[in-house]
């Protein structure tokens, strides 16, 4: 009888592993690589940043995660309602690598996460100020499943505790129908703006100890032209 019980338990363990393997290698949950706003005729503002914690002005989390806050004495988000939230402030650069603005990002694990569908969802917002231009608010749901599957988990599996390679993908998954973020302008030339955006990550190295080591982020924000806005409705 004991032998049958052991066979059943061993089978269940194998079944659970097989199921998780199927989820992990599921080819149907691939990342959207092409940004929907690359085909627009409107101006697209591109803002880059380094996702390496040491390159940020500040980065903070609950203080117990593997990636340490930066600088070391920054206030940590340890209270229960904000424990699954991270915050960062960073310098945003234009396409020539020049400082173009300051960006604040808050992101929290989302309750709409559904691993069965390959969705590791994070709710995030950007608060951006671009000197002499104005301010923007970008709200989005990010799906980090492909990034986790192809960069972070392989780093944990690696005997050297890191990952090196080339990975690029859009992490924005909504709320727009085409998987775009919603953008609202607040001041300056962006006052009253309602538009869409996409955030992408480009990874070359990830360390289990340090988190993203060589990972660049890019926010693409579509700025509708006045001509299009003023065109008569057919």
């Amino acid at each position: 009888m004991i032998k049958y019980l052991i066979a059943l338990l061993f089978g269940m363990a194998v079944g659970a592993v097989v199921f998780l393997g199927l989820l992990y290698f599921n080819p149907l949950t691939t990342q959207q690589r092409l940004s929907p706003i690359t085909v627009t005729d409107n101006e697209v503002v591109k803002l880059g940043y380094s996702a390496a914690v040491q390159d940020m002005l500040i980065y903070t989390n609950d203080g117990e995660s593997r990636v340490d806050p930066h600088p070391a004495k920054v206030l940590q988000l340890w209270e229960a309602p904000i424990r699954k939230t991270r915050a960062m402030a960073t310098v945003l650069t234009d396409s020539r690598g020049q400082a173009a603005g300051i960006g604040i990002k808050f992101w929290s694990d989302s309750e709409s996460t559904n691993i069965l569908n390959g969705q590791a969802i994070v709710d995030s917002v950007w608060h951006i100020y671009m000197p002499e231009r104005g301010s923007l608010f970008v709200a989005q749901s990010e799906n980090l499943w492909s990034y986790l599957r192809e960069v972070v988990i392989p780093a944990y599996w690696s005997s050297a505790d890191n990952w090196r390679g080339i990975w690029r993908g859009n992490i924005t998954a909504g709320p727009g129908a085409l998987g775009t973020a919603s953008v609202a302008g607040g001041s300056g030339e962006f006052a009253g703006l309602r538009s869409e955006g996409v955030e992408a990550l480009s990874a070359k190295a990830y360390s289990v100890e340090l988190g993203p080591v060589a990972v660049e982020g890019e926010l693409s924000i579509e700025i509708p032209s006045e001509e299009l806005e003023a065109s008569p409705d057919p």
Binding site: A7, I58, Y129, G186
Partner: protein, 213 residues
């Protein structure tokens, strides 16, 4: 005769062992199916992420939407002061960019609390004085279990010292709302040693957008 019965017994034992092995294999296969079903059911029914929630302390006004009050204790809830003129950087070790274009920009991050003094979210405040946008004061409040709200404030305070702003955008439970916010500094008057210097009070007054009938 004796030899034949011995062969029969061995055959019987072999068959019995094969049957046992076959039954165990069937049990193992059943276990695999159960494991797959169990893992699927577990991932379907058990929440992967469960955000902790504090009570939303909202006052509903007759025909005027609702108001909710948030606070940030200063300096204890302040995460960041980013400004070129800042003598003592917060957090210590912060290296704020000294580019000339950021000279008129001040960025602050806070933890925010509800009316019962429980931390419920984080917020950013940006204040700038540039030629093109003019005077800019803005807040973004991020409440992980509820959503985020973005306000643009009037640069000049009203009488009484509070500054008023309009809701520009909201997400999730704030996505279909419109309204305003007021910002006010309240200095601490308790003179207690461990009391904060004061607190920033933010009162949101939000209502649902009227649907077209």
């Amino acid at each position: 005769m004796c030899g034949l019965s011995q062969i029969g017994a061995e055959e019987y034992d072999r068959n019995a062992n094969l049957t046992k092995l076959s039954d165990m294999f069937k049990t193992f296969v059943a276990g695999i199916l159960l494991g797959i079903a169990g893992a699927a059911a577990g991932l379907y029914y058990l929440p992967v992420v469960d955000q902790s929630r504090e009570q939303s302390l909202i006052i509903v006004h007759p025909n005027l939407g609702n108001t909710e009050t948030f606070y940030a204790n200063v300096p204890t809830d302040r995460i960041l002061i980013g400004a070129k003129s800042q003598q003592n950087p917060l957090p210590p070790g912060l290296q704020w960019p000294d580019d000339a274009e950021f000279a008129n920009l001040r960025v602050e991050l806070f933890k925010i609390r509800n009316a019962k003094d429980a931390v419920v979210g984080v917020a950013s405040r940006m204040a700038a004085n540039d030629e093109v946008p003019g005077d800019v004061v803005e807040w973004v409040l991020h409440l992980p279990a509820r959503g985020s709200i973005y306000f643009s404030m009037q640069p000049e305070p009203e009488e009484g010292g509070h500054r008023v702003g309009q809701l520009q955008a909201g997400t999730r439970e704030f996505g279909s709302l419109h309204g305003e916010i007021s910002e006010r500094w309240i200095a601490d008057t308790t003179e207690s040693d461990d009391a904060p210097a004061g607190r920033i009070e933010l009162i949101t007054a939000l209502a649902a957008l009227q649907a077209d009938l």
